[in-house]
């Protein structure tokens, strides 16, 4: 796996000739060897079509292509970094939380409404994901940023996980998520618990939760 965690906020990536890696612009801290950083107009993989798709979806975080041979250290904004190794599954994550990822992963954009229709769109608004989210699929690694440390919670069919939408970072696997609202008259009169909305994730996979309710 190309990413090695140096400490909680920094990862080191090994890059070999012929490999590609995408990273958020300006996230390189240091490098050894001959490595080039080229701004990527398309905001990731694919051609002009994917680029327009990402622009419309608001998932077009400025990325750069990292190529060459050597090692690169990444870190950004003092956020904690968590390395996710994918072996064929799909990772659902917001584009601006992606610090860097392997070029071997397939990058795509998913419409939140495709999972649960209107409720999915509402869910996107509550979690701050918006109407679209980025998917990464295949074999490779991704470095995901979070405010505070990251906790991995396994999801099994018998055991769904409830997550505060603000602490949600990413999830992977065959997971269905729905927003469960526990709104009562107390919330209407401003005496709510502050936990009226929860994200319920069920199926088979993993959800990544940050130890903070602050967005990036």
């Amino acid at each position: 796996m190309p990413f090695t965690a140096l400490n909680s906020r920094m990862v080191e990536a090994r890059i070999a000739p012929g490999q590609r890696m995408f990273s958020q612009r300006g996230a390189m801290l240091a490098y050894r060897g001959e490595v080039s950083f080229t701004p990527n107009i398309q905001g990731g993989q694919g051609g002009i079509g994917s680029m327009i798709g990402r622009r419309i979806a608001g998932e077009a975080t400025p990325l750069m292509t990292v190529e060459g041979s050597g090692t690169v250290m990444f870190g950004h904004g003092g956020h904690h970094v968590h390395v996710v190794d994918l072996t064929g599954e799909t990772l659902y994550v917001e584009a601006d939380r992606l610090l860097a990822f392997d070029g071997s992963l397939d990058q795509g954009t998913m419409f939140m409404g495709s999972q649960g229709g209107v409720m999915g769109m509402v869910r996107g608004q509550v979690t701050g994901q918006g109407l679209f989210t980025t998917t990464l699929k295949g074999h490779g690694s991704a470095a995901v940023m979070a405010h505070g440390g990251v906790i991995e919670l396994p999801i099994t069919p018998q055991r769904p996980v409830h997550v505060d939408p603000q602490a949600y970072v990413a999830h992977r696997g065959e997971v269905r998520n729905k927003l469960s609202a526990a709104l009562g008259w107390r919330d209407m009169v401003g005496r709510g618990s502050g936990e009226a909305f929860q994200l319920e994730l069920s199926g088979q996979g993993t959800v990544y939760v940050q130890a903070s309710e602050e967005k990036l």
Partner: protein
């Protein structure tokens, strides 16, 4: 689960970290610290500004410049002193007959056996000698060895190696498409066009983010010919072009774009 650890004067570590954000100095004599970085102390410790009365001679011995000495205080006495800086990560380092250059805002405190001097690189200070010093960084510090190229904002300091030079990556700004990119700003810049390059033997200190700690003035250097940053006339930019959106400013001129 354990609750918060309660320290007293005996259990506080001697010259070691209490937690990643606070450092405990076992004071027996003098230490120099940046103003406002002491958060608590046990024992009888006096804090004096430098350059007044009997501490006047310290400037000659340890500071070598009266101009930035005003930002420093001397802690004198016996006891345990806790240092911290806005919850940034704090670390101590031992220098043994060595030299270390550090960004001025990152240095918190040092032993008087070290001499603090202004580096000829503006904004940096150099410590020379044998002793311990305490530095803060935004995120944990990572030690790397040259040859390496470093993001300017991630650099905390370097020890025992030659001063860095600038390195520019402009491969993607070459050719027709590159020129178009540089002049129109289409495609943007990767933000990694400029690094500091370290070669030779030594150690480079990096912080884990590219968010800088606030600078601390290092004092003006003499207005003399041949002194970098030493007054005189600022260099005129040779560019006649107005700054274009997405343009790289002086970089364009340097690459002849």
């Amino acid at each position: 689960m354990t609750g918060p650890v309660i320290h007293d004067v005996a259990t506080l570590p001697a010259d070691d970290n209490v937690n990643p954000y606070a450092f405990s100095v076992d004071l027996n004599g003098q230490w120099f610290l940046q103003k406002g970085k002491m958060i608590a102390y046990y024992g009888s410790i006096d804090f004096h500004g430098i350059g007044h009365g009997r501490l006047d001679r310290l400037i000659a011995g340890s500071f070598h410049s009266p101009l930035h000495a005003a930002d420093w205080v001397v802690a004198e006495g016996q006891g345990k002193m806790l240092l911290a800086d806005r919850a940034f990560d704090v670390n101590s380092y031992d220098l043994e007959d060595g030299n270390l250059t550090i960004r001025s805002g990152n240095l918190l405190a040092f032993q008087p056996s070290l001499a603090l001097k202004q580096s000829i690189i503006p904004g940096f200070l150099t410590l020379i000698g044998t002793g311990k010093f305490v530095a803060a960084s935004n995120g944990p510090v990572v030690f790397v060895e040259p040859p390496i190229r470093v993001d300017p904002q991630a650099l905390v300091g370097w020890a025992d190696c030659p001063s860095p030079c600038h390195h520019y990556d402009h491969q993607y700004l070459r050719g027709f498409l590159g020129g178009l990119r540089a002049h129109t700003g289409i495609g943007g810049a990767s933000g990694e066009e400029h690094q500091f390059e370290f070669v030779g033997a030594g150690t480079v200190l990096l912080q884990s983010t590219e968010v800088l700690m606030p600078e601390l003035a290092t004092g003006a250097v003499p207005d003399e010919a041949g002194v970098p940053g030493g007054g005189g006339h600022p260099a005129q930019s040779g560019s006649q072009l107005p700054q274009l959106p997405g343009g790289l400013g002086d970089l364009q001129r340097r690459f002849g774009l």
